[in-house]
């Protein structure tokens, strides 16, 4: 089932703790098909924990997470892997495989999960690199790339399988404002081009402004406020106001 009314990701009353530190305290979220939702919040507040729980990298103690109508919590590895083939994940520091070249990094998901022949794989890799504007980096090792280039390659790797959902973990963290802007614009253009549904975790307001349909503000284990960028910017709530003023 597709369409903007269809809920692609649903998080309900999810609790997650690390030892005595409760990070998520009954959090809930609904992401509609084709929507680009952004989660804002301070560092260490549990944004990435939520993202990793959605993709099954972390297991919450309580609650329910459904992705494309399938319950993720308690799902068998085999089923989880089937689901993950339709999800792209962009890591905070790109997480490129450092023993592989850029080409091999991009080929990796295709070789593992498709029957594409050498020519198809090669064409697809080149096409992805063209999309992110890094055709010249094809034979470079990740250690030879700048932070911004790594993020672009990470983005290209995440979408090379044409996933329905992409999860972005701090896509602009550690970048200068110009590169951060470029990455945000790139995310927006790729999402529009491929009709991707996404959740982005960030504390970069500019990134949120560019890509978000809806923004959630996470604090104390729960979403305290939500709305469009303009609604939240105009909010009189002290925390939201402070967040928008401090990080502007």
């Amino acid at each position: 089932m597709t369409g903007p009314d269809h809920i692609l990701i649903q998080v309900q009353d999810v609790w997650k703790a690390f030892d005595d530190n409760e990070v998520l305290k009954g959090i809930s979220l609904r992401v509609h098909d084709g929507s680009s939702d952004v989660i804002l919040g301070r560092s260490g507040i549990g944004k990435s924990v939520l993202l990793k729980s959605i993709v099954g990298l972390l297991t919450p103690e309580r609650g329910s997470i459904t992705v494309m109508d399938e319950e993720v919590i308690g799902m068998k590895n085999r089923d989880l892997n089937r689901l993950r083939k339709q999800i792209g994940y962009v890591f905070q520091y790109a997480a490129l495989y450092d023993s592989l070249t850029v080409r091999e990094n991009l080929e990796f998901p295709l070789r593992k999960h498709t029957d594409a022949d050498e020519e198809e794989i090669s064409d697809r890799v080149f096409e992805q690199l063209k999309l992110v504007g890094l055709e010249d980096a094809i034979d470079k090792m990740p250690s030879e790339l700048s932070g911004g280039m790594k993020k672009r390659i990470g983005l290209a790797r995440a979408i090379i399988k044409r996933p329905r959902i992409v999860l972005y973990d701090e896509p602009t963290a550690g970048l200068d404002p110009i590169t951060a802007r470029e990455i945000s614009d790139l995310i927006l253009s790729l999402e529009e081009q491929f009709g991707i549904t996404s959740i982005t975790v960030t504390h970069d307001l500019e990134c949120a402004r560019i890509i978000a349909n809806r923004i959630y503000i996470l604090d104390d284990g729960l979403f305290q406020h939500q709305g469009s960028y303009d609604e939240l910017k105009a909010s009189t709530d002290p925390y939201t106001k402070a967040f928008f003023q401090v990080t502007r």
């Binding site: 990298l57 590895n77 083939k85 994940y89 890591f91 997480a95 495989y97 450092d98």
Partner: protein, 271 residues
């Protein structure tokens, strides 16, 4: 009269108890991690390409070091043993003594310790670095099982390559013994190796080479376990590499002791 514990003993006891508990948890963790290998190794997808790559890396890159170690080990063993054997009028048994010592014990254990130092630490550092840079998570979200892709392939490569490396070191060490004998007593190559071949039986070679498969398994499993459980960034990677060498070496010595006892039990002390 029983002594009452002083207030200083209580924290010490607590510390000791915690250390023992932690060590037991580590042993349990490594055991379960290692046992998973047998569940995964027979189940597809088979990563033959990765196994081949690791075989090449583990084998070819260990060869220069093992060549030097093997030759010098045989040379020293001959130099040290010759005066003692001469004192008992048993100098003629030197080739047999070198062959048996090397093939049964020194060859497998020294090879395993050298490989543990080079490979186990390498696996610990490599996998640990992948862990702290989220590459293992990246594999997982790419629907690739990291245990199968990273651990099974390395453990398999270690278990396959160890007997081959040991056979190579055994040969070089025996040859090193000949070099020593040739230099000091002008021994003939034919006589020396005839003695060596006559002294060795199938039951001397089989346990010696066979146990290195288990050593390889230990080297791979412990290195990968330490890497998989790395935390605290680059500091943790260094610690994983060091712990991998220490634990792998200790386990090799311990396992060797067990295997020697079992060999004596089933095949007798003579072979």
């Amino acid at each position: 009269m029983s002594e009452q514990p002083t207030h200083k003993e209580i924290p010490y006891l607590r510390f000791t108890r915690n250390r023992i508990k932690k060590a037991m948890e580590e042993v349990y963790g490594i055991t379960m991690f290692g046992l998973r290998f047998f569940r995964y190794v027979f189940v597809p997808p088979y990563e033959f390409g990765q196994v081949r790559k690791h075989l090449d890396e583990l084998g070819s890159k260990s060869l220069p070091l093992l060549t030097v170690v093997g030759l010098i080990m045989g040379l020293i063993l001959a130099l040290q043993s010759r005066p003692t054997l001469d004192r008992f009028g048993a100098g003629g048994f030197l080739p047999a003594m070198i062959a048996l010592t090397i093939v049964r014990e020194l060859g497998p254990v020294i090879t395993a310790l050298v490989v543990a130092g080079r490979v186990s630490s390498g696996i610990g550092a490599e996998v640990g670095s992948m862990k702290v840079t989220e590459q293992i998570d990246a594999l997982e979200v790419s629907a690739v099982d990291p245990y199968n892709y990273l651990v099974v392939t390395r453990v398999l490569a270690c278990a396959i390559i160890m007997p081959l490396l040991t056979a190579y070191v055994d040969f070089l060490a025996i040859f090193g013994g000949f070099v020593s004998e040739w230099l000091s007593h002008n021994s003939s190559f034919q006589l020396y190796f005839t003695e060596v071949i006559q002294s060795l039986r199938f039951y001397d070679i089989l346990p010696g080479i066979g146990k290195t498969i288990a050593f390889g398994y230990i080297i791979g499993v412990i290195g990968a376990y330490q890497g998989f459980n790395t935390s605290r960034g680059t500091e943790g990677v260094g610690r994983a590499a060091t712990s991998a060498v220490v634990l792998a070496s200790l386990n090799i010595i311990f396992l060797d002791m067990v295997i020697v006892q079992l060999t004596f039990l089933f095949l007798g002390p003579g072979g």
